[in-house]
């Protein structure tokens, strides 16, 4: 049975509607809001700041710490007990790896840049939305970055290659491949790549190319969010 039309009527390569804003959390050094479809992410950056415990300090450079967390009422279904889970710890780690390559923290030895990502509401694609929000927040915080980072989940649902899977597609009753990807827009380099599901090599390559192209479009939205903050 072929996937004839997307569950929400989108084109195969179309993302859900995206809204992004910078500077939404006044107490933070940098912050952002990123919404894609029904998935909403807030990111706040604090730093560079003092780092404890001391054994974590690096005399050559500042370090980056990412913390991904979902609010207990954010998911469809039951309440999720607050506190880190193995899943959120893993996502925090890959988020960090996705963002670090663009950052230059050598001016801040022994210090830390903390990025907190929280979700009031999720409908698939949260780690990618989190990375997009975090990248805006890091730029908003005035950190030195050679570029931003944009992310999206691409993949395959049944027989069609798609961009930006929503929850219904992730759990679709057929073969599904869910591939979150994060990209540095100016170079097309990939800083996050994961796969859940099953896909052949040929389709995978195509899916990744879709991802890179989409990430570049998402980057325009991120850039506007930053510039919009200063337009009055």
């Amino acid at each position: 049975m072929a996937y004839k039309k997307r569950v929400d009527g989108r084109d195969w390569h179309e993302t859900r509607p995206i809204t992004a804003k910078a500077g939404v959390i006044p107490r933070a050094d940098g912050s952002a809001y990123f919404k894609i479809g029904d998935t909403e992410a807030y990111a706040a950056v604090y730093g560079p700041r003092n780092l404890y415990p001391r054994f974590m300090q690096d005399p050559a450079t500042g370090i980056l710490r990412c913390h991904y967390n979902m609010m207990p009422f954010s998911g469809s279904g039951e309440r999720v007990r607050p506190g880190g889970s193995r899943r959120s710890k893993e996502i925090s780690a890959v988020t960090e790896k996705a963002l670090l390559p663009v950052l230059d923290l050598t001016e801040f030895p022994n210090a830390v840049v903390d990025v907190f990502i929280e979700f009031p509401q999720t409908d698939a694609g949260s780690r990618c939305a989190g990375i997009c929000a975090a990248a805006i927040a890091l730029a908003d915080a005035g950190l030195s970055m050679k570029d931003m980072v944009s992310a999206i989940a691409v993949g395959k649902v049944d027989d069609k290659l798609v961009v930006d899977l929503n929850y219904a597609e992730e759990s679709y009753d057929a073969e599904v491949a869910d591939i979150p990807i994060a990209v540095i827009p100016s170079t097309g380099e990939i800083t996050l790549l994961q796969l859940d599901g099953i896909i052949d090599k040929h389709d995978l390559k195509k899916a990744i190319e879709n991802g890179i192209e989409t990430c570049r479009k998402i980057n325009e939205v991120q850039k506007n969010a930053l510039k919009e903050k200063y337009r009055k």
Partner: protein, 260 residues
């Protein structure tokens, strides 16, 4: 804490104003929204000045506690998200989060605002359990009042999910609301030297000597109290603070339009 700054705040209060130009009994602009997050059974967002708090309500069906077989349960949890304040750390709730959760809880629970008997489905076997989660997005002071207000609004916004006796279908919402007998509203009064004020900024909170959270129902009955801060209060202090709070609660009710 800087004694000089405190002295200056007191001097300024003595001249009838605060550092940000407000009067002692003035709240920063308040905005409220309900139904702000889709997957929660009920939700609300309250902004007081730059303080921004989201409250989500989730429901589940559980076995009632053995000593209250005909009652459902109600619980309040606060996560002081490090996102909202550079002083907040990751990890399990510390005493600040716990106190805030328990004070908000007290206001709703002790006023018997929520009819826990109406949450019973099958005596001793099944009852609804209401879980309130308070998540600040930005902490610019006065989380107590923002959280209390958002909680009661979120409870009003809550609709039961469909339940067939065995499983909850979270995707289907019914029209059934949580039976709320009363709508308690809380105001926290702060004391700096001999001055009383409401809605402190972070700086004012840091120099304050004591605070008193007062929760009251529509007819002015007090349903919860909590004193905080290191300085003891005299009986006349407490009477003055309660009167101050009750006045403020009336104004708040009127401004926000909090009613059944």
């Amino acid at each position: 804490m800087n004694k000089e700054i405190k002295r200056h705040i007191e001097e300024t209060l003595a001249k009838g104003m605060r550092f940000d130009g407000r009067k002692a009994d003035e709240y920063r602009p308040i905005s409220v929204q309900v139904g702000v997050t889709k997957n929660a059974e009920g939700s609300a967002r309250v902004k007081i000045g730059e303080t921004d708090v989201i409250v989500g309500v989730k429901m589940a069906v559980e076995k009632p506690y053995p000593d209250t077989p005909e009652d459902g349960t109600f619980a309040v949890n606060v996560e002081l998200l490090p996102l909202s304040n550079p002083e907040f750390e990751t990890g399990p709730p510390g005493i600040q989060a716990i106190e805030l959760a328990r004070v908000v809880d007290r206001g709703v629970r002790e006023s018997k605002a929520v009819d826990t008997k109406a949450l019973c489905i099958e005596k001793a076997e099944k009852a609804w359990c209401i879980m309130v989660d308070i998540c600040p997005i930005n902490d610019a002071g006065n989380l107590f009042d923002a959280s209390s207000l958002a909680t009661i609004l979120a409870l009003q916004d809550t609709r039961f999910p469909a339940f067939d006796g065995i499983e909850i279908d979270y995707k289907t919402r019914t029209e059934k609301k949580i039976p709320l007998h009363l709508i308690p509203v809380a105001v926290t009064v702060y004391k700096i030297g001999k001055h009383l004020l409401v809605d402190p900024t972070i700086e004012e909170d840091q120099v304050s000597d004591a605070r008193l959270t007062v929760c009251a129902t529509e007819d002015g009955h007090i349903c919860a109290l909590q004193k905080g801060g290191n300085t003891p209060l005299t009986l006349s202090d407490i009477e003055a603070m309660i009167d101050y709070a009750l006045g403020q609660i009336k104004v708040l009710r009127h401004n926000i339009g909090v009613k059944k």
